[in-house]
């Protein structure tokens, strides 16, 4: 019974991992044998795919990686700052309109993003923000993703309220209480937020597609898409090599931050 369970779990796991393993293996095969050499272990090796893929797009690949990295880092920063501020107010302060605002925040979590796309595009066009990173970054600094606020509210509510009382008696105002008492205790929630933001922003395709048309500004997903446009040349090896380069940071973050990820989705259902 136990062995058969392990066999079944391993078989399913192998099936799940197969596409990823195939990707890695194909990234190391010469382009002309990618679809004929059926084994995962390449008959002939072509590690040069990585070097050639790196430079085969209009810009060198580190340009795209840097662009993505800038956007990701600033988005994480924006989310952490704006969402933690809002979460503290919702979790710890009593103020007029608290219930209404909280309901509004929950409502925006459910709101499909596509309803806002056209007016926002028009607005960004009027602000002359097209082909800049502002449309991708500014929303993160304005706490527009309710999921992260919700995650932090849940976390802050689990901290004993006596902490705030003690801080107040010691003469701390709400800002110092937030900064000195609550923030340091919320590091696990911040880690979860940072990892989720990283993965979501790194993979994001729709918004960069919409707002960035200058190839020099392209993020990694937009860059990868260019391989499909130049398909006639069948640079499969190079394409799979760069695909793997684009996935590696996510896989790395996943391995490093597993604990926070699993906890994060278990408490909020975020994915």
């Amino acid at each position: 019974m136990k062995i058969s369970r392990h066999l079944a779990l391993t078989a399913v796991g192998a099936l799940m991992m197969y596409p990823l393993l195939w990707l890695v293996s194909s990234s190391l095969k010469p382009s002309n044998t990618v679809f004929t050499d059926e084994g995962l272990w390449p008959h002939s090796w072509a590690p040069g795919n990585y070097a050639r893929g790196w430079t085969s797009l209009p810009e060198s690949f580190e340009v795209y990686l840097t662009n993505s990295l800038i956007i990701v880092v600033l988005s994480i920063l924006g989310n952490l700052m704006s969402c933690s501020l809002a979460a503290y107010a919702f979790a710890r302060l009593r103020f007029t309109g608290r219930k209404l605002f909280f309901a509004l925040m929950l409502g925006t979590m459910m709101l499909p993003a596509h309803v806002l796309v056209i007016p926002r595009y028009v607005l960004f066009d009027k602000l002359e923000w097209l082909n800049t990173y502002y449309p991708l970054l500014v929303p993160h600094f304005l706490a527009t993703n309710g999921f992260y606020i919700f995650l932090m509210v849940q976390f802050m509510r689990s901290l004993p309220i006596e902490l705030d009382d003690a801080a107040r008696i010691d003469g701390c105002g709400p800002f110092r209480t937030f900064w000195k008492v609550i923030m340091p205790l919320c590091l696990p929630a911040f880690a979860t937020t940072a990892i989720f933001t990283f993965i979501a922003v790194w993979n994001e395709f729709f918004e960069p597609l919409l707002y960035l048309t200058d190839p020099q500004l392209y993020t990694v997903p937009l860059a990868l898409r260019q391989f499909m446009d130049s398909e006639g040349q069948s640079q499969w090896g190079e394409m799979f090599a760069m695909s793997f380069v684009s996935l590696a940071p996510v896989i790395g973050f996943f391995i490093a931050g597993q604990k926070y990820l699993v906890k994060g989705i278990a408490t909020t259902g975020l994915r």
Binding site: T108, P119, F141
Partner: protein
């Protein structure tokens, strides 16, 4: 100093109360300031898009009120109907399949196996990658005419179709991709299963309940709020699928519009043809469809979701 030691009289306290409240309000609104600005950039566009839905607008000239023209156009737009059909089929097939897979695997893992965390990681990882351009591109080649899947079928003497180039099969490859990402709901199920007290199972076993009966009478009811949550979340998300269709078809929604998700069609209309009034109409139609499905979910929940308290 004397002020501090003076005993407070009753009227004074009453008078101070609103001041303190005002101070609290001011602090809270300062904390909320970024969010408050953000909400203006959410509620504003939300209202504007409703207005644009009844206009003819191409970004270059000001919107022109066109009444119900867009609605009439939608009723006769066969491509829109096709895109809705693609989105419905995708959602109604892939969401139940992936939730069933998630629950089944979570049940097995919950029984307690050695190396649980390794299995969990292996199953969970794909759900972080599933919507990335790299994986959708990979999928296109796995299922291509001379792709891995057909190579495999070839061992059994079967010549498979070009899964991604045949309109009959293209969408099903994307459904498979969705099922591949069952790890995210699985982790939520695992957390939920942990919450169920062991004594319920012990009591059921004492009464002679078979494992299947225990699953039906203990696990399912106690897990139903979480199943419900996953169901609502996944349906809302999958109605908004875009990247998969775009990358799989190179932005066309092909072959023969078989991967033309509603959001992809909206993108083509709004940003390809700059028919932004019509695209706004579609956005609201989709919003109402999603709201409708969510409402049905909530209504149906009364009959199958069980809350302990």
């Amino acid at each position: 100093m004397t002020v501090l030691t003076r005993p407070r009289t009753e009227p004074e306290r009453v008078a101070r109360e609103p001041v303190r409240k005002k101070r609290q309000d001011r602090a809270a609104y300062l904390f909320l300031l970024p969010w408050l600005i953000g909400i203006v950039f959410t509620v504003g566009p939300f209202a504007v898009s409703l207005y644009l839905a009844f206009t003819d607008y191409n970004l270059l000239t000001p919107p022109r009120w066109s009444g119900l023209d867009n609605v009439r156009e939608m009723i006769g737009d066969a491509t829109l109907h096709q895109s809705l059909q693609v989105t419905f089929i995708y959602t109604l097939v892939s969401v139940p399949l992936s939730l069933a897979a998630a629950l089944a695997v979570a049940m097995v893992l919950h029984k307690g196996v050695r190396g649980l965390s390794i299995y969990r990681s292996v199953y969970y990882l794909p759900s972080l990658l599933g919507s990335s351009v790299a994986i959708v591109m990979l999928w296109r080649y796995l299922f291509g005419y001379q792709g891995v899947v057909n190579n495999f079928l070839g061992w059994f003497g079967i010549q498979g179709p070009g899964w991604t180039s045949d309109p009959h099969f293209a969408l099903s490859t994307l459904i498979l991709l969705h099922v591949w990402t069952f790890g995210a709901p699985m982790v939520i199920f695992l957390a939920g299963l942990k919450q169920i007290p062991v004594m319920y199972y012990e009591a059921a076993a004492m009464d002679g309940a078979s494992p299947w009966r225990q699953f039906r009478s203990v696990t399912l009811p106690l897990l139903s709020p979480i199943i419900f949550f996953n169901l609502v979340q996944s349906m809302i998300a999958s109605f908004q699928t875009f990247t998969q269709g775009y990358v799989m078809s190179g932005g066309t929604g092909g072959p023969a519009e078989s991967t033309l998700f509603s959001n992809l069609y909206l993108y083509q209309k709004g940003f390809g043809e700059l028919d932004m009034g019509y695209a706004s109409s579609m956005a609201w139609l989709l919003l109402m469809i999603i709201a409708g499905f969510t409402a049905v979910n909530f209504l149906a929940a009364r009959y199958w979701v069980f809350y302990e308290n």
